[in-house]
Amino acid sequence: MQDEPRPDELVKAVAEFLRNDIAPQISGHAAFKLRVAINALDLVTRQLTLAGDSDAAELHGLTMLLGVHGTLDGLNQDLADRIAQGDVDLTTPGVKEHLWQTTLAKLAVDQPNYGSYKRELEPK
């Protein structure tokens, strides 16, 4: 067992240092690259924080949907294959809800400020 601080705490601290102390001193192409770097660290922090729960929910959803047990990767491949072959489509019970849920979980890590994502989170 590794000691504290946790990886997400460390990455977050580095991102904050770069954002608050370094970014104001940098300009031009390097500033652009630094923004990308900070965004990458923020993404890693979100994944370390969120993906445990969302992966577990996704695995549960896939198991229910496909009626078989397997790994997250294996079951996702199974679902992708079944959709590709036409055995499963949007009329299959649970498919649409599952695809939405897993996609929203990806956006929460990748791009929580993406316009479509924010729109979908608004109350209907």
Binding site: A40, A80, I83, D89, L90, L99, D110, Q111, S116, K124
Partner: protein, 332 residues
């Protein structure tokens, strides 16, 4: 290659084709433009400095494999567009081996903005924004009207070939993509068939490739993905949600409506827009951008360009998944 040596090589090159050129200043590599290098510089001249842009392929690095028209073709297309009245920079010089700058060309620098967030939000462009969608329609009509006989050799594409290519790429990821597979099924089921009209298609007509001033679109850039195909493809591509940069209720680039785009196109070309085809190409374009994002990630892993930007674009593929779901499986 260092900044200094590019400036020196540009000065030597300019002396050969620009009478009166007396050196080069302010050579700077611009950010953005993930797949090719772009440099801005000024040619010193007795009549006043000439603002110029170098576009070149970095050595040892191919752009989008198999899809790129090639920088030579790009130069020809840009010049044809310019001569036909499509807002375009004038091509000043096509690189030769003697230039020692790789492959590419040098064009006039057009003043204006390409950064989407500025175009969509800054006061400077408030007057231009309401006109842009219609103007984009007019410009696309001009591009699609370029005489086929004058065009360089280009790939010919249609929807079925595009779907097959996307299928091959997605199956080759080695990473499951249920939403992409769903989109492929939809595209197969909704392919409107070959277009009766086959024209030059710009292939990447969107924010980032349009220079905008307070007066509107001043130049169309980046013909890297130009090909022959269904002209409605260009109209669908500029409506892909990723190019709305947050202004998601304005489908054309975040600045206008389908109706304005179509009205501009029809007024300039006299040819009716097929809205259903445009919608089909919007779905195709959304999937295509998602596949391109994954491709960037793969090139980050495998290729010589091991950059953070590429890696991070890989994480933009999920934005196209939510947009595909919004298009194909909207929630009540």
């Amino acid at each position: 290659m260092s900044t200094a040596s590019v400036a020196e090589l540009l000065a030597r090159s300019a002396a050969a084709w620009c009478p009166g050129a007396a050196g080069v200043t302010s050579a700077v590599r611009l950010s953005g433009g993930a797949s090719q290098e772009t440099w801005s510089f000024d040619i010193m001249h007795p009549d006043g400095a000439i603002g110029a842009i170098l576009r070149r392929a970095p050595s040892g690095y191919g752009a989008a494999p198999g899809r790129a028209a090639g920088l030579d073709a790009e130069a020809v297309l840009m010049q044809l567009a310019h001569d036909a009245g499509v807002p375009s920079p004038k091509v000043l010089h096509v690189l030769k081996p003697d230039d020692d700058l790789g492959t590419g060309f040098i064009m006039q620098r057009v003043a204006g903005e390409t950064i989407p967030r500025k175009i969509l939000r800054d006061d400077e462009f408030a007057g231009a924004r309401p006109k842009l969608a219609r103007q984009c329609g007019e410009i696309l009509a001009g591009i699609h009207g370029l005489s086929a006989a004058s065009l360089p050799q280009l790939r010919r594409m249609n929807a079925a070939a595009e779907i097959a290519e996307l299928q091959r790429e997605i199956d080759g990821f080695g990473w499951p993509r249920p939403v992409f597979q769903l989109a492929l099924r939809w595209l197969r089921g909704n392919d409107p068939g070959p277009s009766e009209r086959v024209t030059l298609v710009h292939g990447d007509f969107r924010h980032g490739n349009l220079i905008v001033g307070p007066d509107g679109v001043r130049a169309v850039l980046d013909w890297e993905l130009a090909h022959l195909g269904d002209p409605m493809e260009d109209l669908g591509w500029i409506c892909v949600n990723s190019w709305r940069f947050g202004v998601i209720d304005k489908p054309v680039g975040g600045f206008g409506t389908y109706e304005e785009l179509f009205a501009g196109y029809e007024a300039a070309s006299g040819i009716a827009v097929d809205a259903q085809r445009v919608k089909f190409w919007e779905v195709m374009g959304t999937l295509r951008w998602g596949v391109m994002c994954v491709g960037m990630m793969q090139r980050f892993r495998l290729g010589p360009d091991h950059s953070m930007e590429r890696a991070m674009i890989g994480r933009r593929s999920s934005e196209t998944e939510i947009d595909l779901l919004r298009l194909l499986a909207p929630r009540g």
